[in-house]
Symmetry: C2
C-alpha cells in the first residue's frame, strides 16, 4: 500500500481546515457545519481516503474485534460454531480474529497472548483438551477481559459458558441403552478436568443409579476426545474386562466412538450385536459409517450465536451477569445402539 497515503491530515490541508474538523466531519459528529461536512466528505472520497482503524483503536482503546479460539478447526461442530459467531458479530459491527489451539495447552496460551496483544475487545474460547492449568483464565478475569466459554468451559471460575447440558444428555443417552435392555454399560470418558468430560460421566452415572445398576470402576476408562484415544481407551477397556465384557459403551463423543468401533472390530466383535455403542456430538461422519452411530445432536450454530451474543453483552455492559447458558440437545437414534436387535 505504498502510494502516498491519504490521511485526515492530507484532507485537512486540501480543504484548508484543521484535522479535527475533518475528523468530526468524517465521523458525522455533532457541531460541524453541514456545508463543511459535505465538502470534507466529498474531498475524502475524491482523494481515496481510507480510515485507519489501527490509529483509531489505539486512541480509543477499542478494536471492535472479537478473538475466537477453536480447539479443533477440522471438526464440523466447531466450523458451525464459527459460522454462528460470525453472524452475530457481523450484525453487531464486530469482526473476528480466528485462532486455533489444535487441542494444545501451549498453543492455546499463545493464541490468548496474541489476542491480548492485538487488543481484541473480547474472547470466545473452547478449552483445549490438554489444558489442566487455569491460571491464564484467572489472569484474563483480573485484566477484566470480557470472555465467554463455548462448548467446553471451566466451572465456577467466573466466566460465562454457553453449551449444552452434558449431564442430562449423557443421562438420556445412557437411559436409552438401559431402555433397550442393556445392563452392562461401560463409559469411555473424556478429560475429567473439562466440564464436558466430567458432566458426561456424571450423566452416565446418574442414569445407572436411577436404574439401580451398580457402576463398576473397570467399566469406566478415561480416554480422550480424539479418535485415536477412543481406540486406545476401548482396547484398554476390553482388556480389563475380559471375564465380563460390557454389552454397550457410552463414548464421550463421536470421534472417540469411531476409534472404539475400530478397536471392537479389531477384537473380532460386531457392532451392535456384540457391543452396542453410542457417541456424542453428531459428527458428520456419524450417519455415513457402516453402522450409523446413535448420538446426541448439539446445536453448534446456535452455540456460536448465543456465545457471541453473550460476549458482546459482556463487552458493552460491565454489569452483564456471569451465567451458564444451556441449549437443548436431541437424541439421534441410529443403528449402533442395536435398537432392533435382541439384547441382554
Amino acid at each position: 500500500m505504498s502510494p502516498k497515503r491519504v490521511t485526515i491530515k492530507t484532507i485537512a490541508k486540501e480543504v484548508g481546515m484543521s484535522i479535527m474538523t475533518v475528523s468530526r466531519a468524517l465521523n458525522n459528529n455533532s457541531n460541524v457545519n453541514d456545508q463543511t461536512k459535505t465538502k470534507v466528505q466529498q474531498v475524502a472520497k475524491k482523494m481515496g481516503y481510507i480510515p485507519n482503524h489501527i490509529a483509531k483503536s489505539l486512541v480509543q482503546r477499542k478494536t471492535f474485534t472479537i478473538g475466537v479460539v477453536v480447539p479443533e478447526i477440522a471438526h464440523s461442530f466447531f466450523q458451525e460454531v464459527i459460522r454462528g459467531i460470525e453472524e452475530i458479530a457481523y450484525d453487531a459491527g464486530y469482526h473476528i480474529i480466528l485462532t486455533h489451539s489444535a487441542e494444545s495447552f501451549q498453543r492455546e496460551q499463545l493464541c490468548l497472548e496474541t489476542l491480548l496483544s492485538k487488543r481484541v475487545d473480547g474472547i470466545l474460547l473452547s478449552v483445549a483438551e490438554t489444558v489442566t492449568d487455569f491460571k491464564i483464565y484467572k489472569e484474563l478475569i483480573r485484566l477484566k477481559m470480557p470472555m465467554v466459554f463455548y462448548d467446553r468451559g471451566i466451572n465456577d471460575i467466573g466466566i460465562s459458558t454457553v453449551g449444552i447440558d452434558g449431564t442430562k444428555a449423557a443421562e438420556i443417552l445412557t437411559e436409552h441403552l438401559i431402555g433397550l435392555g442393556y445392563m452392562k454399560i461401560a463409559h469411555l470418558a473424556g478429560p475429567l478436568h473439562l466440564s464436558i468430560g466430567a458432566n458426561r460421566r456424571q450423566g452416565y452415572l446418574n442414569a445407572l443409579k436411577r436404574h439401580k445398576i451398580r457402576a463398576k470402576k473397570s467399566y469406566i476408562v478415561e480416554a480422550g476426545l480424539k479418535e485415536k484415544q477412543g481406540y486406545e481407551g476401548m482396547k484398554k477397556l476390553l482388556n480389563q474386562t475380559k471375564k465380563n465384557p460390557p454389552r454397550a459403551v457410552v463414548a464421550v463423543n463421536d470421534p472417540s466412538a469411531f476409534g472404539a468401533i475400530d478397536a471392537i472390530k479389531e477384537a473380532g466383535l460386531r457392532v451392535p450385536e456384540d457391543i452396542a455403542i453410542v457417541g456424542f456430538a453428531d459428527d458428520i461422519r456419524s450417519q455415513l459409517i457402516e453402522v450409523p452411530l446413535t448420538t446426541v445432536r448439539q446445536p453448534a450454530y446456535e452455540v456460536g450465536k448465543v456465545a457471541a451474543d453473550k460476549l458482546i453483552k459482556h463487552i458493552e455492559s460491565k454489569t452483564e451477569a456471569v451465567e451458564d447458558l444451556v441449549l437443548n440437545t436431541e437424541l439421534i437414534v441410529r443403528k449402533s445402539c442395536g435398537w432392533s436387535k435382541k439384547k441382554n
Copy 2:
C-alpha cells in the same frame, strides 16, 4: 482491561532506563547489554506486561494479519479452505480476520473496506456470486494491497488465483456422461462473469465438441450457485425443452444439483432413470442424499494452503509473480449419473 495498564513506559520507570532501551530489550534487539536485557524482561514479566501490537502496527505499518473474505461460510468447501489458510498463516506468524460476503456484492465491498481500514497485510478473497463490477479489485491493485483469489477469481486482472482447472474438470465430467452413452446433455451454468461459471460451461462445450455433439442453446441455462437457483434453473430447462428433454444434466455445482434434483422429482421424473445429473464440488451432502451425486472433488484444504502460501509470498516480496495455480481434481462417480442403468 481496566487495571492501570503496564506499558514499556511503566517498565522504563521501574528499571530506571529509557523506554527505548526497554523496547530493545523486549524485542531481543541487538545492542542491549545482556544484564539489562534480562533485568528488563524479568521486570516486564513480573509487572504483567502485555505488548500492544496495535501501537506497533501503527508505527511499523504492518499488522501480521491476513484478511479472508468467504462468500458462503455455511459451505463445507469454504470451511475446509479456511482450515488450510489458518494452518499456513499460523506457521508464518500471521493471524486471520475472517469476513463473510454472503454472496453479496455490497457486503463484499464492505468486507474489503473493513479489511483495508484494519490495515491487513494482505487479502484472500473468493468472489461473491453477485459481483459484476471489478472496480474495487483494480483499486486494491493500485493500492498495492497484496491479494490472492481462491476458487473464484477474475481472469487477466493482475491478481493471482488459486483454484482448480474448472474447464478440464467439467470436460471430464461431461465426457463421463458421454461415455455412459448420453447424448442429450444439458448444462445448468453458473454466473458467466465468474471464472468458475465460464470455465465449467466451456468444459461442457469442449466435451460435446470433441464428441461431435451439437450444443443446443436451449440446453444451457444460466442459473446460479445456490440450491434455489438450481431448482429454478432446472424448472426453466424442463419447461423450454418439453418436446425434447435432456437425458442428463451437468450442474455447475453440488448445491445447484440438489435444487435441480428437487425440480426433476417435482416434475414426476426420476434420477437417474429419467434424467441423470452430475454436480461439482463434492459437498458433504452429496453422498448422503437418496441417490448419491456424481461430482468432482476439489481439494479445498489444499486450495486454502496454497492460496495462503502464495499470498504470504506476495506480502513478503514485492517481486512475487502474479500467476494462476491449478490444483488437481478427482472425479467421484456415484449413482446419480446412472452408470449401472440403460441409457439413450
